[in-house]
């Protein structure tokens, strides 16, 4: 039976940098809510290939996240919190 190759093709949605699309959006380390979009559950910075940011804005976002981590607005890691949760059970 012939394989229908077309159905197997994976369609990748083209991602655009949201900061390029909307220049009025500013990246600030104090706004942890907008930055939280760019970190994983574990607190890691989401790579550019997944987040869709352009190189320029990814650099700015990464710097902002690092600053926000420093002042406890964002977590470095959530491992400790989870350990605590486990202990409670």
């Amino acid at each position: 039976m012939p394989i229908d190759r077309r159905s197997k093709r994976i369609f990748i949605k083209h991602k655009t940098c949201r900061f390029c699309a909307d220049p009025s959006q500013k990246i600030d380390y104090k706004e942890s809510k907008t930055l939280a979009v760019f970190i994983t559950e574990r607190g890691k910075i989401i790579p550019r290939r997944i987040s869709g940011n352009c190189a320029k804005h990814q650099r700015v976002v990464a710097l902002a996240i690092k600053r926000a981590r420093n002042i406890a607005l964002l977590p470095f890691t959530t491992a400790k919190v989870r350990m605590k949760d486990y202990r409670e059970f």
Binding site: Y29, K30, S32, N70, I71, A72, L73, L74
Partner: protein, 140 residues
């Protein structure tokens, strides 16, 4: 060798501090005034003080899981930040702080005027929006 000092090369900085959450409102105010006075003593200009109130911290800092956030926006000569941060470090009530340079070479007096205009504008807008709301209510 003596460092070159330009007379009007003030830079704009922003210091964000986490203050002990157990402090009363009065002593919190005292901390804020203490450090804003210190900025002026170090020949800087306070542009804006923004208090965020008590917020949950993303991780424990000195065994506290909450903290008062205070943002000090100021202009100063580059050397003053070191002295300012040293004083922050000495104060037990400050759990953590971060200083970020926002702008190079600003005119502080001009900035303060601009900032006030901005605030007036915001207040004006708020009044206007309240007026609009009232109007829409009456229209209904």
């Amino acid at each position: 060798m003596e460092k070159k000092k330009m007379p009007h090369s003030m830079k704009r900085y922003e210091t964000i501090c986490i203050v002990n959450p157990d402090l009363e409102a009065d002593s919190l105010k005292e901390v804020v005034t203490k450090f804003s006075d210190l900025i002026e003593k170090l020949k800087g200009y306070v542009v804006k003080i923004n208090e965020w109130g008590k917020r949950k911290l993303a991780y424990e800092v000195k065994r506290f899981d909450k903290g008062h956030y205070v943002v000090l926006d100021f202009c100063g000569l580059p050397g003053m930040v070191k002295e300012f941060e040293r004083n922050l470090k000495l104060d037990d009530r400050i759990l953590k702080y971060l200083t970020v340079k926002i702008d190079e070479e600003v005119d502080p007096e001009d900035l303060i005027v601009k900032e006030q205009e901005k605030e007036d504008k915001i207040q004006g807008d708020q009044n206007q929006s309240i007026g609009d709301q009232n109007q829409s209510i009456t229209e209904k």
